[in-house]
Symmetry: C2
Subunit: 226 residues, 2 copies
């Protein structure tokens, strides 16, 4: 007598997560650590990268720039002699407000994984959808500018929860704002208690060394199997 | 002999536009003008409304607050004794990064159209998707903070093209920034030549009268048929 064997597939992945795992496997084979960097428009991601990336001693860095249109940030970063790849969401992707795993995968042939140790993916400026799509990264970080006000963690909780590092940027402007930094940090702890945070000013350089340290840590950490 | 008559439907609307027209018909019947106000997170939409709306002589104003989560902005505005309705996109709408016509329609039973002349819809903070969805509004306006940098019109061109007014906010901070206002305005003209713009500081009140004038103009303009 034959018994019908039914194989039960548990934890089935959606298409995005399936492709994210394929990306991750490619990154692992190449020995490349990947950071997915997110923020609202104009929070200072590119300027922070301009300050932090040239000083990463011993770590070869590449950047994958996600934008709806144009290559303004990629052009800025390429002046630093970094390996920069531009990924636009308005060509073939319908003007998407975020990167997803498939978009990143479509860009990988243009990313020289064999020549870098760390890939920073600068996501489209948006506090909502980028947090919903894993792209195969090792770590997610976000930049929140103090000019955006204290309430952003409460209004966009998924983004602030999705990250393992929150960079509070433009702190040189605090004397000129009515923002309450302590309240901002309390709101951050309300949605993601104890999440590591670095206070930075891309303009004065404050906190940039700490950001470099975090990036080197991601680049050199023991990696979990994909 | 019978001839088969084929009716050709041209300019068929997608579902969003069909519902936007239904919203617009309801607004028209009630004699309510509607402004769809958009920006990146933290550009200052709510603070501008706090400053501008109480001074709108002779125009009864309501606000429909769009947020992913919470009612922080609605709570702030309700202190001004405005008619405020909160619409959250995370309950039933999957945490959407924008308002669409159907979401607005679902909120209309809670908006007292018979008691107001002008409805300001404060969209979710996002420079991409809100520009893609008409909600039945008469006019679209956006707020761009000078802290976001000069390049935003070039990086998010659809948003800057979709609006008939661009409000450049937080101009009191210009002395403390490296931003080039003339370049920001030139970039704006590159994507939407000659679009009306108002320079504002919600903190000092500069430009708030001009914004009030624009709102009154929308509220009292001759309305095109839906």
């Amino acid at each position: 007598m034959h018994r019908t064997r039914v194989r039960v597939v548990e934890g089935a992945l959606d298409a995005n997560d399936t492709i994210a795992q394929a990306n991750r496997a490619d990154f692992d084979r190449a020995g490349v650590a990947v950071v997915n960097l997110m923020s609202a428009p104009g929070a200072g991601k590119t300027t922070l990268l301009e300050r932090a990336l040239p000083g990463l001693a011993g770590v070869r860095v590449g950047v994958l720039e996600g934008d709806v249109a144009g290559s303004f940030d990629a052009d800025r970063l390429s002046r630093l002699h970094l390996t920069v790849t531009q990924l636009n969401t308005d060509q073939g992707f319908g003007g998407e407000c975020h990167l997803d795993a498939n978009m990143v995968r479509s860009a990988l042939p243009e990313v020289p994984l064999g020549e870098i140790d760390l890939l920073v993916i600068e996501n489209v400026g948006n506090l909502v959808c980028p947090a919903e799509f894993r792209v195969g990264e090792d770590a997610r970080a976000m930049v929140c500018s103090v000019t955006e006000g204290e309430d952003k963690p409460l209004k966009y909780p998924l983004m602030f929860r999705a990250c393992e590092l929150v960079i509070i940027n433009k702190i040189d402007l605090i004397p000129h704002l009515e923002v309450d930094l302590e309240l901002l940090l309390a709101n951050l702890d309300a949605v993601n208690p104890g999440v590591p945070r670095i206070l930075t000013s891309a303009r004065t350089g404050e906190g940039v060394d700490a950001l470099r340290g975090w990036l080197v840590g991601v680049a050199t950490r023991e990696r979990a199997p994909a």
